[in-house]
Amino acid sequence: MNRQKWIVLITALALMGGTGVLLAKLHAGQKLGNPGVKTQPVPGSECLEVVLPERVLDCSSEKLEVDKITSEYLPKDTSYGQRRYRAEDGFETLVNVVLMGADRTSIHKPQLCLGGFGWTIDQASSEQSTVHIEQPAAYDLPVMRLNCSRSPGASGPPNARLVYVYWFVADNALTASHGQRMWWMAKELLRTGVLQRWAYVTCSSVCLPGQENATFDRLKKFIAAAVPEFQNPPRH
């Protein structure tokens, strides 16, 4: 190899090596942002527990542990909070919060988990909506509503319907769009070096066919009452 080739080779290798060092330093220097939900530490664990209210409106609740499949599938530093609420007339709502750690893959699309639990999303009737929150400050919470039906062969009543509402929240950031969440996260990382700590919040209720709209209206009232108890409002 002649002298020019050696110089070019060393330059190229230096570029690659320098990039490796830069990547390691930048990654180590990334700061994790604050969550947009209320949390408390879990003894003996780096994870947190998302604190959900025990009572919302006329609903009492029971705390649920996250299932083993989910906890083993998602990153180890994922934090959770889950409660089943039951109203006096028997109406049930499941509230589930998944809070990421340093790994954004904790926040996954509902299509990944709903199919696994035996639900088929009816994309034609799914839509983005808003829920008006009054306390502690008034704002409109963007949510995504999915209507689901039982997959053939899945356990449970075959004609059951699921109204599934979800949104994403980080410190001073709210959205129902995956794309927007990822764009904001990338922008914030590049601008400030802070990795936004997103939580994926879901509220869902099972109903009979034809009751989806009434169920969604009831869920909206529930969300409007529950959200101020566990979610930080946006700062204007």
Binding site: M1, Q4, K5, V8, L9, T11, A12, L13, L15, M16, G17, T19, G20, L22, L23, A24, L26, H27, Q30, Y73, L74, P75, D103, R104, T105, S106, K109, Q111, G115, T120, D122, Q123, A124, S149, S151, P152, G153, M182, M185, A186, L189, L190, L195
Partner: protein, 343 residues
């Protein structure tokens, strides 16, 4: 030094001699290999910033998990990602004479390509988007080829190199497309079953079921035809570059891939429905699973393959015109595609 073939040589021996011949004629081999190994090592050790579903910093490990989490690549929607690099290598081998006959020499602007590729990877790594890092990976390999062998090599290797884009897992982001395909296939199956085959089938969204409840199928995302669509697009690209010169005809082949893939998937779904209608859920399931040796799973690929081949052949003949024999030899420095040669 050109190694002479002897008539009594077998295929393997001819390949060995050809390979040795090309190897000897290719300059800057050590230079290229050192850079390539360093490049791949970078992406293996600092390729992926997400340690979620697969706890590894390797971009290659991340990609394999994206193709299929348990390694069942044949049944994964992104499983073609494992095969494409070998297809690209095979096409590079097919183009070997054309590539080696170019003026091959060190080309220092290749360093700029490598720098750009590194920038793309740094961005992808920082914002935890491994797909962007994969773009950087392939761009960097292209840059290393350019640095080692020059601009003419880059120009002539663009096809098949760009086919590596099919290795980037994107199906997860194409839910609106897969849903649209699923609905289209379901509606077509419903229409044909009612209107042509007199099969009383009920469609509930993407669920197809018999009116009497003897069978039901949920056309889920894996049945959307995305796999056959990606394979068909890859075939269209390959046919387009092997057989056709003009870009607009290549575009027509690409566009034609979509309806051809839909037709292939439609035929498969109809086969399942007819089987279930005749023999019940069990027979339908058997056909759905692929039948003996998975041969029925190949049905979606038959219409696209033959459709594209016929179209490419027709375009090739139109371009060749009266001097068909001469044009056919000039398309690639050798016969463009033996399968498309007409008498």
């Amino acid at each position: 030094m050109h190694t002479e073939r002897e008539p009594g040589n077998g295929v393997l021996e001819d390949f060995r001699l050809d390979f040795l011949d090309c190897w000897q004629r290719l300059p800057n081999k050590g230079f290229f290999l050192v850079l390539l190994i360093a490049w791949l090592a970078l992406f293996h050790l600092l390729g992926s910033a997400t340690l979620g579903y697969v706890h590894s910093p390797s971009l290659f490990r991340w990609a394999l998990n994206a193709y299929h989490p348990t390694g069942d690549y044949l049944n994964g929607e992104e499983g073609h990602g494992v095969v494409v690099p070998f297809v690209v290598l095979a096409l590079f081998w097919w183009k070997r004479n054309e590539l080696i006959s170019q003026p091959l020499q060190l080309w220092t602007p290749g360093l700029a390509l490598i720098a750009i590729a590194l920038g793309i990877h740094v961005l992808g790594y920082l914002i935890q988007q491994p797909r962007l890092s994969m773009v950087g990976l392939f761009a960097g390999i292209y840059g290393i080829m350019g640095l080692s062998w020059g601009r003419a090599w880059l120009r002539n290797s663009f096809f098949p190199f760009f086919l590596l884009a099919f290795c980037i897992p994107i199906v997860a982001y194409l839910a609106p497309v897969t849903f649209g395909l699923r609905m289209l296939v379901c509606k077509l199956v419903e229409g044909i079953a009612h209107g042509v085959l007199a099969i009383d089938i009920v469609r509930d969204g993407t669920i197809l079921k018999d009116a009497t409840g003897h069978y039901a199928y949920n056309v889920e995302a894996p049945c959307s035809g995305m796999r056959s669509l990606v394979a068909t697009l890859g075939l269209a690209c390959t046919f387009g570059f092997l057989s056709v010169r003009s870009w607009w005809r290549r575009g027509v082949l690409l566009v034609a891939a979509v309806p051809l893939a839909v037709i292939g998937n439609l035929i498969r779904m109809l086969t399942i429905v007819i089987s279930a209608e005749v023999g019940g859920q069990k027979v339908g399931d058997y056909v759905h699973e692929g039948g003996p040796a998975g041969i029925i799973s190949l049905i979606p690929y038959i219409p696209p393959f033959f459709g594209l081949m016929v179209m490419a052949n027709w375009f090739h003949d139109r371009e060749a015109g009266p001097n068909r024999k001469d044009r056919g030899e000039s398309l690639g420095g050798q016969n463009a595609c033996p399968a498309l040669e007409t008498a």
